[in-house]
Amino acid sequence: MRSALPRRLRFGLALLAAGFVAAVAGPVFLPDPNAILDPRGAGLLPPLARVFVVQLADGTLLAGEAVHRSGDKLMLWRAGTWQELRLAEVQGVTRRLFVAGTDGLGRDVAARLVAAGRISLAIGFLALALAVLLGTVVGLLAGLGPGPLDRALMAVVDAALAIPLLFVLLAVSAFLGQQTTTVVLLLGFSSWMGVARLVRGLTLQVRQQPWFLAAKGLGLPPWRLAVVHVLPHLATPLLQDATLRLGDLILLEASLSFLGFGVPPPVPSWGSMAAEGFEVWRLAWWLPILPGMAVALVVLAFALVAEGLGELARGEA
């Protein structure tokens, strides 16, 4: 009897689960990713930094590393000097911990990483859905249809595969303007070819199976053949391929955002966070590294799950 899931699969799923928890729970426990907090006093803080946040009567927030009372004044060590504040103006003093530090505007990096992760994953999923849908349809048509159709469709697939992805993505982005929808569409259209090839190959194998020939002999309509008799056998390989593909799409989206042609900036993205971080890497090396590692971990997780699924399938077979 099978004792446990392959180790890779377990590890990958564990990573994904952690990510999922972060994505869901993050917004609850972490501050607003777009909230600016005193760029001079709380900007570019390292991970695990703690600051005192002083709220003034007019709503302004000032952040500093140390506070103490001095008579009727509050002294705040901020941006390299002691600042004097009249106690009468001070509404409150709190302490904040930044798990992953802050960026140039004092925004919480952990919160932004989670927010960016949700965006990246959402875009990845949508693009994947597009790719899988289109690829499966094309693959089924090629696999089940007449020879000429198969050859024609495969020619299209080969052609599409040859187009240099990043170049076209950049060019289109540049001309059509940066919009999230454009990015999703482009990513999806860049990825369906692999799915099509896979589906076609599998369909061709299924075609030769005796039970399929029997079903075909019964005179069932092609779409029924496809959906009821072919698709179920594609499920597992497709799942494995899709998982890996999702990782690739996220990687591609990160590169695109890094170059400045991904989702438009008020929306955080790991790639654009890394690009912003590179501008100040000498002062805050963690700013470009953390988003990069986030991308790597997510892609790794998907790759592990994909390989684990593969092992599982091979074990069963």
């Binding site: 505007l105 900036p265 501008e279």
Partner: protein
């Protein structure tokens, strides 16, 4: 070893030490000797020259810096525009005089100025340059500068005469604008073909340096021109411009000693540069001022009260402090406070969100449905704020403006754009607001920005500002000969503009230059970073 040998050895040892020591330290004789000839300076540049020909290129400020070194100008503008329009020092022209009626200017050129191919620089080149500048087909953006110059005559190879259609304070400046280009080489190319001619193949220059190597988008190497008339300068053998689009790379290489000069240190990094003993931070008050340009043609932004409200609602002081780390001043009006024409009595707009709210209410932009966002004609009042995406400082400013205006119920959507796309939308008038900056020329002329744009001439007045009184004042200031009266016109115009708030004035820039201490003799001033580059020298 015998004692005698030991003593000899000791003596020899001491001798070696002494001699060695003397070679190591800088001897007093060398220190007082003055400039050292030779060596090179590496400058980091964000982008390569668009063209060696300023009459077909983009005239971006760093391009002018480099072209200054390659092509001569008649005179050198001095950095003294704080008290009066700038004065001039001789350069290609060693002397000049105005006629009695001031309608004619005669310039006496030096006779030892040479082009890099050996030919002398003559009045013919000056006349040729003038024809290029005035050519309407070529369309040099500085065309209007030469409006009042009717003709340029060659009196002799070293004497050239400018004739003016009127007398006004900027006659010398207008004559000087634009570098002199080689008639004997560039004159061979018909002017219609200039926009798509590659002038790097026709490079004949005259100046302290000439182009030794140009690897497009990589490096530009200028080598000392032995024909330069002001011998023994330049002291440097070479100036190398390394193209590094990424500022953090520029800084990394500055700190590593691979680059000697960074032209624009981001304010955040200023402290690091100051702390480094090998480097120096030079602060130059620049004439660049940043603003939020509201589309004056688009309701409700066409209402003065709305614009004033928006200006009041933005905490400009905090923005300048935050984004520029103290390396900028609050801007109050269209003319930077470092210039002679600045109206010192301009009212300073405070940060007053309360008043802003009142003004918005009065103008009819109100929050009807209580969702926190004001409506205009039934729709939520949202402003799309365009800014050049590559500039992180603008990005920060945009986010801060968004936060400030949200507090008074105005929604702002910061939209980064590619620079040309942004320009296209500006020109088409297809925008709500832009976050941009302007460099005021040393010649104070309100015409390009603040005068009602006419259909026949181009203009930078994208926001569509139109105030007939300002138009009138600007025209008068342009043509008036008496400087005192010019100041009066400009003062009044500034008052009116500030009242109208066609834009929200944000900051006046301070340029931060990071320079290696091995460079000596540099006078980095507001006129140009390379103001006296021929006098720079390096110590090993």
């Amino acid at each position: 070893m015998e004692v005698r040998d030991k003593k000899m050895l000791a003596a020899a040892f001491l001798l070696v030490l002494l001699v060695g020591c003397r070679r190591q330290g800088p001897s007093p004789a060398v220190q007082g000797a003055g400039p050292i000839h030779g060596g090179e300076v590496v400058v980091a540049l964000a982008q390569d020259l668009s063209s060696f020909n300023e009459y077909t290129g983009f005239s971006e400020s760093t391009e002018t810096l480099i072209l200054d070194l390659l092509f001569p100008s008649l005179l050198v503008e001095q950095p003294d525009y704080q008290l009066h329009p700038p004065s001039f020092a001789p350069n290609l022209a060693k002397a000049w005089e105005f006629s009695e009626d001031n309608r004619t200017l005669t310039l006496y050129l030096r006779d030892n100025a040479r082009w890099s191919d050996g030919r002398p620089v003559t009045a013919e080149d000056v006349a040729f340059t003038f024809r290029v500048q005035k050519d309407r087909r070529l369309g040099w953006h500085g065309l209007e500068i030469k409006d009042f110059i009717e003709a340029v005559e060659v009196v002799s190879p070293t004497v050239v005469r400018f004739r003016y259609s009127r007398v006004y304070p900027y006659q010398l400046m207008d004559a000087n604008d634009g570098h002199i280009v080689p008639a004997h080489v560039w004159g061979e190319v018909p002017l219609e073909e200039w926009p798509h001619t590659d002038f790097s193949k026709l490079l004949v220059t005259s100046g302290p340096f000439r182009v030794a190597t140009h690897l497009p988008n990589q490096t530009l190497v200028l080598a000392r021109d032995p024909n330069y008339w002001d011998q023994p300068k330049p002291y440097l053998d070479r100036v190398v411009f390394r193209i590094l689009p990424d500022v953090s790379q520029q800084l990394a290489q500055l700190f590593a000693g691979q680059v000697d000069l960074v032209l624009m240190v981001p304010p955040r990094e200023a402290a690091s540069v100051k702390q480094d003993p090998k480097l120096e931070l030079v602060e130059i008050p620049s004439r660049v001022w940043g603003y939020v340009g509201w589309n004056n043609r688009r309701p409700p932004l066409n209402d003065r009260r709305v614009r004033r409200a928006l200006s009041l609602a933005i905490n400009r002081k905090a923005l300048v402090e935050t984004v520029y780390w103290g390396y900028a001043r609050l801007a109050n009006g269209p003319i930077p406070s470092t210039m002679w024409a600045y109206n010192r009595n301009l009212p300073v707009l405070p940060y007053d969100p309360q008043q802003a709210q009142a003004l918005l209410d009065a103008a009819g932009v109100r929050d009807m449905n209580g969702d926190g966002v004001r409506e205009w004609q039934g729709k939520p009042f949202t402003i799309e704020l365009l800014y050049p995406g590559v500039n992180p400082l603008r990005a920060q400013a945009a986010v801060l403006i968004q936060a400030d205006l949200a507090k008074v119920g105005v929604a702002v959507r910061p939209t980064p754009m590619e620079f040309t796309a942004m320009m296209a939308r500006q020109e088409a008038g297809n925008f709500d607001a832009v976050l941009s900056a302007w460099e005021e020329a040393t010649k104070v002329d309100l015409t390009s920005l603040w005068v009602t744009p006419s259909p026949t001439t181009g203009s930078y007045n994208f926001i569509g500002y139109s105030n007939p009184e300002v138009d009138h004042l600007a025209a008068q200031a342009r043509e008036e000969a008496d400087l005192a009266k010019v100041k009066l016109f400009l003062d009044r115009a500034q008052e009116l503009i500030v009242e109208d708030q066609p834009v929200t004035f944000l900051y006046e820039g301070i340029q931060l230059v990071g320079i290696s201490r091995r460079i000596k003799g540099a006078d980095i001033n507001p006129s140009s970073v390379f103001f006296n580059l021929p006098e720079w020298y390096v110590v090993p």
